[in-house]
């Protein structure tokens, strides 16, 4: 789909559903969810507590984005949850009334009510029994909304804190439903390994393409690695052997794994485009610095291939979060080590090319963009013990406007100066979602 077709789609959607409703959201979220297509009013930042700073606890920080608010660009609320849990990712429920977030270390899941007062989320429920419920899964990572339930990827397990893990499903009430272990060479569960893929059983992200009944999962590393000092790990040859090298294709409805693709070097985020005929997804490999395309070929079979380098792979720039524009034409790719964001033209998904780059700071991790792509937000923290040390450990949420050529800084919030901690995932909120 080109930009013009996309524009027509948005206009049609807006006409059908009023100014704030459309088919799609600020990008990269579950397609089952109601959308903010206008101005996002708040950004929620799941933040890691730091020893010796502020109250030392993990917290959900709310930042005001309302254009006419005197508090715009400032922290208006902060809700501490107790302990340092290795706060990481989170996702809204399909009705977008609740924001589920996970602790990769302690395995607690915090469910925040974001609809009663979107400017001031409250803690609705804490699930303490994730490991027990799931039969030994550790590290609740991605929260992907399905109708009536939440699909959660794990990163590890409680037998050895290695990378073997599973998908775990809870219903919207927060009750455990099922565990689906990732396929491994010794238990493929009916999946086939494509080419020289070795089913490692590792997990990371999850995304789905509903009309094709496709679900994809990627693979990172186990607790021992994601919790340990990054520099120490890079020097530990045994630890470096324990990264995922696979993307798994699943049957979305039956939750059965179908194919295991060889995607070497820790494929992390997975993003499907929004176009009605776009049958592909992007992912990036953190260690090998490549952009991957998982796509349906002419015969209807799904395939995986690398389509571009991100920076110079030999420098290990460590690509982390990515964000696809709502018109499917461009993709933001952040890399942690060089603190850069790069924009790729993906209008031909088989031949992406870099069209822009900018250094955000000494380190950068997450990127989120508004539905119209004009506002782009960056945050800084990767993992508590992977973040840079000393002066390079800057912690922020920084907002930019994108005019199609340049990122222009709008506002910057220093999370250390405010005693908050390490800023990780960002999710948008809006009161418009709950007024019908």
């Amino acid at each position: 789909m080109n930009r013009r077709e996309f524009g027509a789609l948005v206009v049609a959607a807006a006409a059908a559903a009023g100014p704030f409703r459309a088919f799609a959201d600020e990008t990269c979220q579950s397609p089952y969810m109601p959308k903010i297509t206008g101005q996002e009013e708040f950004v929620y930042v799941w933040t890691l507590g730091v020893e010796g700073m502020g109250d030392e606890q993990d917290k959900l920080v709310t930042i005001d984005l309302r254009p006419d608010s005197p508090m715009r660009g400032q922290v208006i609320n902060s809700l501490s949850v107790g302990g340092r849990n290795e706060a990481h990712h989170g996702g809204f429920s399909a009705d977008r009334r609740y924001f589920w977030t996970g602790g990769l270390d302690t395995n607690r899941i915090f469910i925040f009510d974001v609809h009663t007062d979107p400017s001031k989320p409250s803690l609705h429920k804490t699930i303490e029994s994730f490991v027990k419920d799931s039969g030994g899964v550790v590290g609740p990572h991605t929260f992907f909304a399905l109708p009536g339930s939440m699909m959660i990827t794990g990163l590890s397990n409680d037998d050895d804190h290695g990378g073997r893990t599973a998908l775990v499903e809870y219903n919207d009430a927060g009750d455990y439903v099922a565990t689906y272990w990732m396929p491994t060479t010794s238990d493929m569960q009916g999946a086939v390994a494509v080419g020289d893929a070795v089913a490692d059983g590792y997990g990371y992200d999850i995304r789905a393409l509903i009309r094709k009944n496709i679900m994809l999962t990627s693979s990172f590393t186990g607790w021992s690695n994601y919790m340990m000092d990054f520099g120490q790990m890079l020097q530990d040859t045994d630890a470096m052997k324990r990264f995922g090298n696979t993307i798994v294709q699943w049957d979305l409805h039956t939750r059965q794994p179908r194919k295991v693709f060889n995607v070497p070097g820790a494929p992390l985020e997975i993003r499907f485009p929004w176009g009605p005929n776009a049958n592909y997804a992007f992912s990036t490999t953190a260690l090998t610095s490549k952009l991957w395309l998982i796509y349906e070929d002419d015969s209807g079979e799904w395939q995986a291939k690398d389509v571009a380098d991100i920076g110079n792979p030999a420098d290990i720039p460590l690509p982390v979060d990515i964000s696809i524009a709502a018109d499917d034409q461009t993709l933001w790719v952040n890399s942690f080590m060089d603190g850069k964001t790069r924009l790729f033209d993906i209008s031909d998904p088989h031949n992406p090319s870099q069209i822009y780059e900018k250094t955000i700071d000494r380190q950068v991790n997450m990127v989120s963009q508004s539905w119209d792509g004009k506002r782009v937000y960056f945050s800084s923290s990767l993992l508590a013990n992977w973040d840079k040390k000393g002066d390079d450990d800057v912690q922020y949420l920084r907002a930019y406007t994108w005019d199609g050529k340049e990122l222009i800084e709008d506002f910057d919030i220093d999370f250390y100066k405010l005693g908050l901690g390490r800023a990780h995932i960002m999710r948008f909120g809006s009161s418009e979602l709950y007024t019908s």
């Binding site: 302990g83 340092r84 290795e86 270390d105 395995n107 303490e128 029994s129 027990k132 799931s134 039969g135 030994g136 550790v138 397990n157 409680d158 037998d159 050895d160 804190h161 290695g162 073997r164 565990t179 272990w181 491994t184 010794s186 238990d187 059983g201 607790w223 021992s224 690695n225 994601y226 340990m228 000092d229 990054f230 520099g231 120490q232 890079l234 020097q235 530990d236 040859t237 045994d238 630890a239 470096m240 324990r242 990264f243 090298n245 070497p264 070097g265 490999t285 260690l287 090998t288 792979p313 030999a314 290990i316 080590m337 508590a384 013990n385 992977w386 973040d387 840079k388 040390k389 390079d392």
Partner: protein, 396 residues
């Protein structure tokens, strides 16, 4: 769901071990596994001496069952993420193959490699620096260390156990009393003293007289171990049994070598980013994401006697094929790296133990020596894993 998992890990464990010797399949009986474990701890598997149980802690089925449960209980750490078994993983030879040095609560680093629990009941000198002497007291270290299980105090754990109904029954069964610090230690001691693994091909040949148990290269390797290599000067072999340790402290030169590397890092190091893909990474980049690494002076840290600098306890060499990586900081991933280190004469720094000197072993001799070390793996580890996993770890 866990049923799917267990065959996987046992299979991967066996794959590893098979490289050296076939492991017997062994499924522990959920009812009477502890009887078997008790019998084992009172016997002496071929090649091992009998375990000397402390006079005030004779083993029992109830203590072994309680000790096993404690060993795997993740609730016994401040944030319920660490048990003893997270660092001493049964499927990984009761150590951890995936880390050179251990990682504890909140990802905090330890500076040493997790040793195996296999045959630990035979040791009178515990830890790489020998700072403890009994399993009855050793556990207090990891329970309260900030970088291991990080409990606020030992008493906190006692109180916690006394609040958990299932433990009240088990302590009653084992000691006719409620939980106390002493009794936790006794139960953990009784369990760990049942984790014995002898009867290796070497034992079957050397102590059992079965000439067919090992190949000719193993026998040649044994000659080097006790002859040209002089390994058995420290890794002792007795007349009726062998622990392969003198339980003394020596400066092999290794620790000094590692400290020189720590203080003089190279400008870049190779980093494996995917199977078969290695990039040279500038050390300045690694430094930007590294916490400061501590020195490790070994025995000196216990005695503060300058003569003890760089000395470490001689480890047992049993079951090496299932306990990589090697040395006190796990820097060697393979046995051939260790043998290479000895063959070149350690660090060749003058203060090191004079028995560590260039050996002039040929390639064939080094391979024979490695074959010998590989023949020290017990075929009975499957049973110990299966017993360890008779029920899932407590989490909640």
């Amino acid at each position: 769901m866990r049923q799917l998992f267990l065959p996987y890990i046992i299979a991967s464990f066996l794959n590893w071990a098979v490289s050296a010797h076939a492991q017997s399949q062994c499924i522990a009986d959920a009812q009477d596994w502890s009887e078997t474990a008790l019998k084992r701890s009172l016997s002496a598997p071929l090649g091992l001496p009998p375990v000397l149980h402390p006079y005030d802690n004779s083993p029992s089925v109830a203590k072994i069952e309680l000790g096993r449960k404690l060993f795997f209980d993740r609730r016994l750490s401040i944030n319920r993420t660490m048990s003893c078994a997270m660092c001493h993983v049964p499927e990984q030879g009761f150590t951890n193959w995936e880390l050179s040095t251990a990682i504890g609560v909140e990802g905090r680093s330890l500076k040493r490699n997790s040793p195996s629990i296999l045959n630990v009941g035979h040791l009178n000198v515990l830890f790489h620096d020998g700072r403890d002497h009994a399993l009855e007291t050793q556990f207090i270290g990891p329970l309260t260390a900030r970088n291991e299980m990080a409990n606020p105090s030992a008493g906190y754990v006692v109180t916690l156990l006394n609040k958990l109904p299932e433990y009240a029954l088990m302590f009653e069964d084992a000691f006719e009393a409620q939980a106390s610090l002493d009794r936790i230690g006794m139960a953990l001691g009784a369990y760990q003293r049942s984790v014995l693994a002898g009867n290796s091909p070497f034992d079957q040949w050397h102590f059992g007289g079965d000439e067919a148990a090992v190949s000719a290269d193993v026998k040649r390797g044994f000659q080097i171990f006790t002859g040209k290599g002089n390994c058995s000067a420290c890794h002792l072999i007795g007349d009726d049994h062998a622990l392969f340790t003198d339980e003394r402290f020596h400066d092999t030169g290794y620790a000094q070598l590692r400290d020189i590397e720590r203080q003089n890092p190279p400008t870049s190091i190779p980093v494996q980013v995917a199977p078969g893909v290695v990039h040279e990474m500038a050390f300045s980049k690694i430094h930007s994401v590294s916490a400061k690494r501590e020195a490790d002076l070994g025995r000196y840290e216990v005695t503060e006697d300058p003569a003890d600098r760089w000395r470490f306890r001689t480890p047992s060499l049993r079951n090496l094929t299932v306990t990589p990586p090697y040395m006190h900081d796990g820097h060697f991933s393979t046995l051939s790296e260790v043998i290479e280190f000895y063959n070149q004469g350690g660090s060749q720094i003058s203060s090191q133990d004079p028995r560590i000197r260039p050996l002039g072993l040929t390639g064939v001799e080094m391979r024979d020596l490695e074959a010998f070390l590989q023949s020290l793996t017990s075929p009975d580890l499957g049973c110990l894993i299966s017993e360890a996993r008779v029920s899932p770890p407590d989490n909640h």
